[in-house]
């Protein structure tokens, strides 16, 4: 289609979506097999990730090229922005599921087991030894006794790290707005670095929890919710850091201008979203 500014850019037929589908398909298919110990599964997962990488380079490469050659008007830019916004909204609900589950067990079902609330008879007839408390590994104390991660140790430091990464990112954004490439690149580098440090600290914390605290995935409902929430958050930090790295690469090439920097903003929104989730985690999982 033509590229005049008042016409919407409709891309040519593209092979990337189908590559993306194949990539996702082989990752999930591979997982289904690998989880059940079928050998070919892990191979499929690897293939899937390679394809996924290939697809990202290709697809985003196309988008970047179209963008740089000025095929997009502001309406296309808007479409991208809105698309990203609604995507993040759906992610919010993904995390809401886990927070909601945490609420449910802490405030409803563990109480039943402990003898208050609608199913209080449970305590009278089955779990009479159990006292409602949090944290808990349940009436059978699955996984054995465990200790908690110290809120004011690694988690507090990680909070500080993520919060300051939000600041450095905003600083980079100011640089972008002022067309100050150096500030932009430095800000982004700092942000990515903080993200990486966060992930490493988190990994160390996990190892510590497994080896000395005996806090594992099997530690009843506390261990389950703890690792589910922090784990999925950590995964999102990794994705966000990858997005920011890509943006960093493009910033170094000088792709962004004051008006045209959707990719930067998308990654930034995502990062802030991950930030906010962490705050929720810090308060509800580690602190309270």
């Amino acid at each position: 289609m033509s590229t005049s500014p008042d016409q919407y850019y409709i891309p040519e037929p593209s092979k990337w979506p189908i590559v993306a589908m194949l990539a996702i398909f082989s990752i999930l298919m591979g997982s289904a097999l690998a989880i059940n110990g079928v050998g070919i599964g892990s191979f499929l997962i690897v293939v899937g990730f390679v394809l996924l990488g290939y697809m990202f380079f290709g697809w985003f490469g196309d988008v970047v090229e179209e963008n740089m050659t000025g095929k997009y008007n502001s309406q296309v830019d808007d479409s991208f922005r809105q698309g990203m916004f609604w995507f993040i909204s759906s992610e919010v609900f993904f995390f809401a599921t886990f927070f909601g589950s945490l609420y449910y067990v802490r405030n409803i079902s563990v109480d039943w087991l402990g003898g208050t609330g609608y199913l209080e008879a449970t305590n009278e007839f089955i779990t009479s030894q159990f006292v409602s408390q949090w944290p808990t590994a349940g009436p059978s104390n699955l996984g054995g006794d465990f200790a908690l991660v110290d809120t004011w140790g690694v988690p507090a430091i990680n909070t500080a790290i993520l919060l300051s990464s939000g600041l450095t990112l905003t600083w980079a954004h100011w640089g972008l707005k002022k067309e100050n490439r150096k500030q932009l690149v430095n800000g982004l580098m700092l942000t990515v670095a903080l993200g990486i440090i966060f992930v490493i600290m988190q990994a160390v914390e996990y190892m510590h929890a497994y080896s000395t605290l005996n806090l594992t995935l099997e530690s009843g409902i506390y261990g389950s919710t703890f690792y589910l929430l922090t784990g999925f958050h950590g995964f999102h930090v990794i994705v966000g850091a990858l997005m920011l790295s890509a943006v960093l690469g493009r910033s170094m090439k000088g792709h962004f201008t004051e008006e045209n920097h959707f990719a930067f903003e998308a990654a930034a929104w995502y990062w802030h979203f991950v930030d906010v989730v962490w705050l929720g985690l810090f308060i509800l999982v580690y602190w309270m």
Partner: protein, 548 residues
């Protein structure tokens, strides 16, 4: 993806002003065209309808007489599970998405969807998901494939934790379906917000567009919850967590909350696009504008919001406090307000109209009646004391087929008949259309009406074998189901005939006498050009495009 493919792509890039479709398979696999993608969605949905319908036929054959004739108990439940998932995720949702793809850009004066490449991805994930869904069905037949999925589509733990590896295929299939729906919904929302022809206000959009907007929001908000829920199931199955295990402090009922937080809005996801279709069809054949445009929009938003907060009416028989059940009961009953208003508006649209009864209108009229019936049994179910009896009985099965089949499937048929001449440029065979309608409606009512009584008399659902007192009605139901099933062959014939036949009458741009001003799609020729509105249509700031 070999390097030749890349080269062809590059040369395609050079031929920038080529407006026609690509040749051969690439047209479909690489497509960024909303009509081609819409067509693929619709074909996929039709295939799935037959697959899901075939499994329904097997269910009805087994249930025709007491005793175990055809299947093993686990296989029976496996088929029920697959029937439900294929119908809901494979047939109804893709069909509605197909209509959205075809019609929304045409209705709002846009050249295409806002994010065409992502549009392609949303579609092509579906065949992958279907593959995994079907794999989950067949894996147990292979040595070492584990046990069958005998949980029903609700996948309640702990039963679903005990199922073999096929459950993992199902879980990942659900993830794929979720990705597809969320991407498609994002695309639809962005298209509606950002691609309307200059000057088209939200309040001028055709109702079908509105219904899909609300649907897309619902999907974005609730599908991730299902994804989260089945992920937790996966963790419980393989990684030793105890979300749904009381021994570790979890609760099997937590999964039910997560499932139905998705599941109840999901039924409105199935319903709303069909409400949209009816809001287009009824005014056209009443030759009169839609009655109560704004109240329809309002009731839809109300419905979507209320629908998000009443999920636990599916779980009255598990433990919930008095306050909780009371809240869920009243919330659920209140849903009759927006839905009642919708149905009222449809009736008022026909009131003092000038009605003709082409096939789409026949369906529309019968849907209004049958859906009200299904909705009223829904309100009966919502009344908690009585649901202590109805729950998990055939009464529930009767309720949801009375809302799902008219409220989703038949309305989509109405939409297909309504727009088929627009898509193909040819009028379908009206006599056959009417024949299809009558066999369909008779078969449907015969199948599901009697199931109400089975339920009241105490026949539970999801059983392969029943006690002899339930025989008569099951025989009637099964015979009805076979009539109903066979009638779909007429549909298949009509669709293929309309696409392929050279003899059929050509359709005009407006197609239906009453379609004037009822949506911008009637301003485009039949069939429409490959790119819909390359030039944005000129709009009249005061006109209503399919509104009051």
């Amino acid at each position: 993806m070999s390097s030749t493919a890349v080269e062809t792509m590059d040369s395609a890039h050079d031929a920038h002003d080529d407006h026609g479709p690509m040749k051969g398979w690439k047209r479909w696999v690489y497509s960024t065209n909303h009509k081609d993608i819409g067509t693929m969605y619709l074909i996929f949905a039709l295939v799935m309808l037959f697959l899901g319908g075939l499994s329904a036929m097997v269910i009805r054959m087994e249930l025709m007489f007491p005793g175990i004739q055809l299947l093993e108990p686990d296989l029976y439940n496996n088929i029920v599970t697959n029937h439900a998932l294929i119908m809901i995720f494979g047939a109804v949702m893709p069909a509605a998405a197909g209509l959205a793809n075809w019609m929304i850009p045409m209705m709002i004066g846009a050249p295409d969807m806002a994010l065409p490449r992502m549009n392609n991805l949303s579609f092509w994930i579906l065949p992958a998901a279907a593959t995994m869904l079907i794999l989950s069905f067949v894996v147990p037949f292979f040595p070492g494939g584990g046990t069958q999925i005998n949980t029903g589509w609700t996948l309640y733990p702990p039963l679903s934790i005990k199922v073999g590896m096929s459950m993992d295929f199902l879980i990942f299939a659900i993830h794929l379906l979720g990705i597809s729906s969320v991407l498609a919904s994002i695309n639809i929302i962005v298209t509606i917000f950002n691609m309307r022809a200059p000057g088209m206000k939200m309040s001028q959009m055709p109702m079908f567009v509105w219904t899909w907007l609300v649907t897309a929001f619902l999907l974005i908000l609730v599908v991730p919850v299902l994804a989260g829920g089945v992920t937790m199931l996966l963790f419980d199955r393989h990684f030793g967590t105890s979300f749904f295990d009381a021994a570790g402090g979890g609760d099997p009922v937590l999964f039910q909350h997560l499932f139905w937080f998705f599941g109840h809005p999901e039924v409105y996801v199935l319903l709303l696009p069909s409400i949209g279709v009816l809001s287009m069809v009824i005014p056209t054949f009443s030759r009169k504008p839609l009655f109560g445009y704004m109240s329809l929009v309002g009731s839809m938003i109300f419905l979507g919001t209320l629908g998000m907060v009443v999920w636990a009416h599916h779980q009255y028989t598990i433990g919930m406090s008095y306050g909780a059940v009371n809240y869920f009961m009243i919330g659920t009953i209140l849903i009759s307000i927006p839905v009642g208003l919708m149905k009222f508006n449809f009736i008022a649209t026909m009131w003092r109209g000038s009605l003709t009864f082409e096939t789409p209108m026949l369906f529309a009229v019968s849907i209004v009646i049958m859906f009200v019936f299904g909705g009223l049994t829904g309100v009966m179910l919502a009344v908690i004391p009585a649901d202590m009896q109805y729950h998990d009985s055939m009464f529930v099965v009767a309720h949801f087929h009375y809302v799902l089949v008219p409220g989703a499937v038949l309305a989509l048929f109405a939409g297909v008949f309504y727009w088929l001449p627009k898509w193909t440029g040819k009028m379908y065979n009206e006599r056959l259309g009417k024949l299809f309608f009558w066999t369909n409606i008779i078969g449907f009512n015969m199948t599901f009406f009697v199931q109400h009584f089975l339920g009241l008399a105490g026949m539970p659902r999801r059983i392969i074998d029943y006690s002899v007192q339930f025989t008569e009605f099951n025989v009637i139901s099964s015979i009805g189901a076979f009539i109903f099933g066979l009638s779909h062959l007429i549909l298949l014939y009509i669709v293929i005939d309309t696409i392929r036949s050279k003899k059929l009458e050509k359709a005009t741009a407006q197609v239906w006498e009453g379609a004037k001003d009822n949506g911008l799609e009637w301003d485009l020729p039949s069939p429409p050009p490959y790119h819909s509105w390359v030039e944005a249509p000129k709009l009249d700031a005061n006109a209503k495009y399919a509104g009051s």
